[in-house]
């Protein structure tokens, strides 16, 4: 099994080279003049017009041949820290490390209810094919999937913060921020929920939770549809199997048949999918983070993308590739636990 894990991770360097080439090629779609923009903070720096620009292009070597530039670039990125992000004004690795806990905190907390909800709704819908319950669940989930996330998120923000003033945006209230940033609060993980518990600060824990709920609701609802759909189809498929008939013939109640015999088998495709879904969420809940002023990886990545901060985009893609590989690995390792037929080779 160690062998298996090793082989899966071996894939990573390949992805790195391919990704870096791809992103660098994208970058090269831009003319040197356009690319120089990344290095300019104020238009007034270009008072000298073309001449000044050409000097800058020379300075940053943007007129060199493709491979030379790529080599320069990749060296920069490999020389530690994954390069320098212009948008964050920090090394890319630092940004990723510092924002990672926030995103993970949000994503995990949103993933759990979406997964459990999807399994529950999917089971119910699958077991009641084409009955009102099935229709209701399908409409409910497709509804969540058919609305632009940002509209839904903004409405959540408006209701829960604007009108009710229950769940404010951001990650913490200002008083809590001051507390957290003061010397007598130890940042163990960077995830506020965990840190506040470790520090024994209930108030901060509750405050942090308060800030998380609205984005969690948004994310959960938006992510529900896909997994529910897969769970439902998977249930339908499973309920057609002979062993379900066998289970019924044994005299098991319909509840046990559905919730034990069928669901356990139906979980297989959902697990794969849930792994992907979790990975995608880790890959940036861009819009939700933007709306709820939640400084996480998604918002950062979107900002980097819009500003063509290529080292940041590459760093982010690498991070995402790693998440994908690891989560796929986790799913693969989980699979034999759910399905004894699967053996890792």
């Amino acid at each position: 099994m160690v062998n298996y894990v090793f082989r899966r991770l071996l894939f990573f360097p390949v992805v790195f080279i391919a990704l870096s080439l791809m992103i660098f090629s994208l970058q090269m779609l831009l003319s040197p003049v356009q690319r120089i923009s990344a290095y300019i903070t104020s238009n007034s720096e270009l008072k000298g017009g073309r001449e000044q620009i050409e000097a800058l292009i020379k300075k940053y070597g943007l007129d060199e041949p493709f491979l030379t530039q790529y080599w320069e670039w990749i060296q920069n990125i490999l020389s530690g820290n994954l390069g320098w992000s212009e948008t964050a004004r920090s090394p890319v690795s630092e940004v990723l490390i510092s924002l990672f806990p926030a995103t993970v905190e949000l994503v995990i907390l949103a993933f759990i209810p979406s997964f459990l909800g999807a399994v529950w709704l999917g089971t119910k819908a699958g077991a009641n094919l084409n009955r009102p319950k099935d229709h209701a669940i399908r409409i409910f989930t497709i509804l969540g999937w058919s609305f632009p996330t940002f509209v839904f998120g903004l409405i959540m923000l408006l209701i829960f913060y604007g009108y009710l003033n229950w769940f404010p945006p951001g990650r913490l209230s200002q008083w809590a921020v001051t507390e957290v940033e003061s010397g007598n609060f130890i940042r163990y993980t960077g995830a506020n929920l965990i840190d506040s518990l470790l520090n024994g600060r209930w108030q901060i824990f509750l405050d942090s939770l308060r800030h998380l709920i609205a984005p969690i609701i948004t994310l959960t609802y938006v992510n529900l549809a896909n997994m529910t759909r897969v769970m439902r189809t998977s249930m339908l498929e499973t309920l057609r199997q002979d062993y379900i008939r066998t289970a019924r013939a044994k005299g098991l109640s319909e509840k046990i048949v559905q919730n034990k015999h069928a669901r356990r088998n139906a979980l297989l495709p959902v697990t794969t999918m849930a792994g992907m879904e979790l990975a995608y969420m880790m890959g940036g809940v861009v819009i939700t983070e933007t709306i709820f002023d939640y400084h996480g990886l998604g918002q950062f990545a979107a900002h980097a993308a819009a500003n063509l901060d290529f080292p940041a985009v590459l760093g982010f893609a690498l991070y995402f590739a790693l998440v994908l590989v690891l989560l796929n690995l986790v799913v693969d390792l989980l699979y034999p636990l759910i399905d004894p037929r699967v053996v890792l080779k």
Partner: protein, 291 residues
Amino acid sequence: MKVFKYLLKNPLSSFGIVSLLLFVMVAALAPIIAPPQSFQLSPYETPRSSFWATPQAMSKDHFLGTTQGQYDIYYGLVWGTRTAFKVGLGVVLVSSIIGIIVGSIAAFYGGIIDEVLMRVVDVFMAVPFLIAAMVLTTLLGKGLGPMIIALSAFGWMSYARVIRSEILRIKEMEFIQAARTYGVNDFSLIFRFILPNAFFPVLVLATMATGSMVLAASALSFLGVGTEEGYADWGQFISYSRNWIVGQGDDPFKYWYTLFFPGMAIFLFVFSWNLVGDALRDVLDPHTIHK
């Protein structure tokens, strides 16, 4: 045909089909029900009768109201229907063609070609979709074309995977073996025997994707890399409304029309595609859940 009958019989999908037909009609009749004005350079540039910053409620001239900057919502929605079809179908068409080509080659030839192509797919999958699309649209500039290119460039992978697994499944079926035994060549095997049978899973995927691509396009608009300002595009219009969701003082719903109409349009469109796709999936292929 049987499929179509099923779709019409199922209350959810028949709703979807009827509403999609309505959208098609609106798109087709756009020049009649929302005639462009003489000073417009293109019918897709939503005309503005004035330039007030604040949205204006429904009136005789603007019977769904106007957005910020006085873009006529009615006009934008009518012509935006065409844009929605262009984006949805355009992206789906381009990405499914790429996906089908890559997937077919990978599955049919297998071995090292398969391995390489699948790694390419992996690499494309390793860039989060929205971020990748953002980078590409930012690179290519605003507009419908760049958006379709960007969404397709990072949206073809699922088609490739589905096609590949379908082909691998079909390839083992006996009619393929039979065709091989009487000397059908590879090309013909793929196009005459395999792809027509792999069509339905792709169709399901494509149906679902058509809606979600319109959503993705609207997300791009939200993130500021969508179509050009004033372009008749639902995503653009709905992102105009984002700042007006909060009403004014005593009247929290003062600007409801800026969100409601574009929101309904996009929602109905996506919802209909999803309903049809969902039903299609049920009827066509219960075995393609996790491919």
